[in-house]
């Protein structure tokens, strides 16, 4: 009888410990979260740590600046791009065999020029599909009595271009795939319309917010594409 009672009290004792652990766990996690991760604390300790922190601060700020410069450079280039685009004639972008709407080839150097000026240094730029990636390598070195820090990082910023070659080409591909309907109905590709053998397409850039009367509104750049000899010309992609 006595043994049975003791065994039960042992089990109860263990049960209480488990419940206690369950209650203790959230508190322990809370304390842990206040202190930061052990990894972060250890690599930031001492003089070497403050040197790393300094490099981190410099590169983080550069990343924000790069992101800002990419955004503003994209706005500046997109607003005036068609006035200097080689396929722009008489207020329209003319698409034919010599101009298959590869705007990125001309957009990229203009954007890079603005970006380099804004950053005050050479920026690597890549436009792939619908994404611009700007990057700058950063390396810093710091030596103390008992440490040496070699800090290297690639600073990056990305965004979708306001004038997207990919989006416009998708519109052209869609029109091309449906052009068979013109035999029955000349207005079947509306709002695009035929003008002789050419197809006139109204296109626009990706939107961005602008300020009007102290509030925000969407702003897009509208432009006209003239697809020369649309019915007989295959798609230039």
């Amino acid at each position: 009888m006595l043994r049975n009672k003791r065994a039960s009290s042992h089990s109860l004792f263990l049960l209480i410990i488990m419940v206690g652990l369950l209650l203790l766990l959230p508190y322990a996690s809370y304390s842990f979260s206040k202190e930061g991760t052990p990894k972060r604390l250890s690599f930031k300790a001492g003089e070497a740590g403050s040197s790393i922190r300094e490099f981190e601060s410099i590169t983080d700020k550069k990343e924000v600046l790069l992101s800002h410069c990419l955004r503003t450079s994209d706005i500046e280039v997109s607003e005036s791009f068609f006035q200097q685009y080689s396929c722009f004639q008489g207020g329209e972008v003319v698409i034919d065999s010599s101009c298959p709407f590869n705007i990125n080839d001309e957009y990229k150097p203009l954007l890079k020029g603005k970006l380099d000026t804004c950053m005050g240094e050479d920026v690597s730029l890549e436009i792939k599909d619908d994404l611009i990636t700007a990057s700058i390598p950063f390396s810093g070195q710091d030596k103390g009595k008992q440490f040496e820090v070699n800090y290297e990082r690639s600073i990056k910023a990305q965004k979708t271009p306001l004038l997207s070659e990919k989006s416009i080409k998708e519109v052209l591909e869609d029109l091309q795939s449906r052009k068979g309907c013109l035999e029955k109905d000349p207005n079947c590709l509306s709002p695009s319309k035929l003008e002789g053998n050419d197809l006139i397409i109204q296109a626009e850039s990706n939107p961005r917010p602008v300020v009007e009367n102290k509030a925000l509104k969407n702003h897009t750049i509208k432009f006209t594409l003239r697809y020369k000899d649309f019915q007989t010309t295959p798609l230039f992609t």
Binding site: S11, L15, M18, R53, V64, S67
Partner: protein
């Protein structure tokens, strides 16, 4: 004499509460593992950018986090950096003020005095300037600066 508390004696305890206790404890162990895993995942996610209070190292973190984060303004999603420029272009400063003040209140929590200056505007939180000054600034080229006065 009473038995020593060992795993063997515990598992041998098939009378009284023993059998049921083993079952309950097994459930509790599973719950502890699940809770611990869930808490770990929640707390480590985005750990680098969560600033819960102001310390000597976090004025930079606060400023950078504010500039890089996205906010909903007037139905548009804009970053802190973009919001500063839109404000300098004439957007009602109430949007910037609301976001800045609420961000600073989160980290200050009555434990500091905060001052945020940009585009000719200054927003503050807290009543009392504490002795220790911590600040961070960036030129975008609009100069943006945050200063916290915290207890020593």
């Amino acid at each position: 004499m009473g038995r020593r508390l060992t795993l063997a004696s515990f598992l041998d305890d098939k009378r009284g509460l023993g059998g049921a206790t083993i079952f309950i404890m097994a459930i509790l162990v599973i719950i502890i593992i699940i809770v611990a895993t869930a808490i770990f995942i929640v707390q480590t996610k985005g750990k680098e950018r969560i600033i819960k209070s102001v310390s000597g190292e976090s004025a930079d973190d606060f400023l950078l986090s504010f500039l890089a984060s996205e906010y909903e303004v007037d139905g548009f999603k804009v970053s802190g950096e973009e919001l500063i420029f839109l404000t300098s272009e004439g957007l009602d400063s109430k949007y910037l003020k609301n976001i800045v003040v609420s961000s600073m209140e989160k980290v200050c929590n009555d434990g500091c005095y905060g001052e945020f200056s940009t585009a000719g505007l200054t927003f503050t939180v807290g009543d009392e300037k504490f002795p220790k000054k911590i600040s961070s600034s960036i030129d975008l080229p609009i100069k943006t600066e945050v200063t916290f006065y915290v207890k020593k």
